[in-house]
Point group: C2
Chain length 345, copies 2
């Protein structure tokens, strides 16, 4: 077993210094990072975009199958994805942790190596945070800051009747990856000598364990001078996010079932679990893809985006939010999403 050093050997300030000493400053807007009462940032002529997210062990992640490095990476990504969903560029993050004494310094180093990898890949600076103890489990709270020119920001509320609904990447894979990890955990718990059968499922597992924020798409929007009319990232499932856009924009919408981007590996796995791939794509969540609308006149510009699907269109609010099924029927969509506070929990 690898060396496990008790956190108490470093103390709070020593721990933060130890974990963050390898982080370099990349953004000119980072004037002062870790080491004072607050970070200092400079954004001349830009508007600032700010988002925050909390991840709780046993609620949002299960360390029995989530490597700490992946967890750190994903915790950053979910916040960067929110910044991208405003059509802004992420620049800085703060990371606060509450950790029980079952975590060693080496475990936290693993977690921070994932945070650092995300910072490197997305050119984001870690500029602050807080590290404290918890009496149970691990809690990660991240705040991300980004910036954009005022007229480049895209809100949920800008969709217009007739706009085309687009989504990046694929849907449902992250959810199916989670189902797979849960199944193999149960197999392992019932017979610890069983080895997990995961090798042929790399794609869906990586979609669950190491998602990416679609900053690449934001860059393409800039290059192609495409300004979506509304945008949101998919963390709670396509259906739930489409409801947010329609509610804020005062519109309805329809999407076509046969346009949902579901990769074959995910579809086969859904069948294996006795799940409907369409339901996984609509309600699975954690895809971190971008759902956005564009004016019909802009349709040629989206061809530059490597994986893009045109799902449907924005309608009058009175028409509701519907799914046009493969069999030609119209089903009202439900915003199921994640229910953190369901009575069953």
């Amino acid at each position: 077993m690898a060396k496990q050093t008790d956190i108490s050997t470093l103390g709070e300030f020593g721990l933060i210094d130890h974990l963050t000493k390898e982080f370099v400053v990349r953004r000119p807007s980072t004037i002062k990072g870790i080491g004072d009462d607050a970070a200092v940032l400079n954004y001349p002529k830009q508007q600032i975009v700010l988002t925050t997210d909390m991840m709780v062990e046993h609620i949002h992640f299960d360390l029995s199958y989530t490597p700490l490095k992946h967890l750190g990476y994903k915790a950053v990504i979910s916040n960067l994805s929110d910044i991208c969903a405003m059509n802004a560029i992420p620049k800085q993050i703060t990371v606060s942790l509450a950790i029980s004494n079952r975590f060693s310094i080496e475990a936290l180093e693993e977690l921070y190596s994932g945070i650092q990898l995300a910072c490197t890949n997305y050119k984001v600076d870690l500029v602050g945070g807080d590290t404290t103890s918890s009496d149970k489990g691990l809690i990660i709270s991240i705040t991300a800051i980004g910036s954009a020119q005022k007229d480049m920001l895209v809100y949920r509320s800008g969709a217009q009747v007739g706009d085309i609904i687009c989504v990046t990447g694929d849907l449902g894979s992250a959810y199916l990856g989670l189902q797979l990890l849960e199944r193999e955990k149960q197999v392992f718990l019932s017979d610890p000598n069983m080895r997990p059968q995961l090798s042929q499922h790399d794609f869906v597992l990586m979609r669950q364990l190491k998602p990416e924020a679609r900053l690449d798409v934001i860059d393409i929007f800039r290059e192609s001078k495409l300004l979506p009319s509304s945008m949101i990232d998919i963390s709670d499932g396509l259906a739930s996010e489409l409801f947010h856009i329609c509610t804020r924009s005062g519109t309805g919408a329809y999407i076509e079932e046969d346009k949902l981007p579901i990769v074959q590996q995910a579809e086969l796995l859904a069948f294996e679990f006795g799940l409907d791939p369409t339901v996984c794509a609509l309600n699975g969540g954690e895809d971190y893809e971008l759902l956005f609308t564009i004016a019909p006149t802009e349709i040629d510009k989206i061809k530059l985006i490597p994986t893009i699907s045109i799902l449907g269109a924005i309608t009058e609010a009175s028409q509701g939010i519907n799914l046009h099924s493969k069999s030609g029927r119209i089903h009202p969509l439900k915003a199921q999403g994640w229910q953190h506070f369901s009575p069953a929990q």
Copy 2:
């Protein structure tokens, strides 16, 4: 017993809407608050100051004697205090909560009423956050944003040899308030019919339960054109904070024991507990007063601050960090502070 409504009746989005619907926008820099993927802020020609803090039940607070409204207030104050310690003006906050199902909607309304009172008193906007479940206890993570002109920012690192060390307000009371609450809790646990004996201790109790950030002092600095050479807020105890200033500034320091601002009520209570009032003032923490240094030429300007104490002076690093005792002896100071990660926990 008051009505207790289960959180699951509202769901995550309903809960956030319910808790935040009374919050109004006060700052012109708040372009977009709650309700999109991220908040949008505008700070033309200013630098942004950003800090974050996490409070964990059983580690940072005990709900058996901390009213939820006070807890919400204090959680905001501790972050605003960090912004003030940069000589900046707090403008916006985000609040993330993880809550176990033992909390009702009414309990969260109490917590948010304290958050709202702090926002009102300090003219700060709540612009975002996250609300999720925890499987144990309450965790509050707050991020505060402020701004200042570039040349108005004060860092920990600016102290110069010969500078005068000042502190606002009084020290040690918040710590003694905590000792009192802990004692009465033990009395109550051993005999639930006993009523707590707290009435004559209002001052120290309020210092513990409802601290304030010294934004009033920051305003006086602006009015009197006083720019401290270094500054920090006192959350972990005077000694610990003085070490931060000296370490970052590359200096030593001395402070005089008989200059420590200890109010009589706190002093008497310390004696009652068999504690040394000086130790309470040096290491108690949670005072949220400002410790700062000024050039000797600026000394007349601090007279405008209602409660201010001159504690000592900055020296060469080689002289160390010392306490000049009332009896005329020199004791090297130790930065005890809070030890979240002590092996005993």
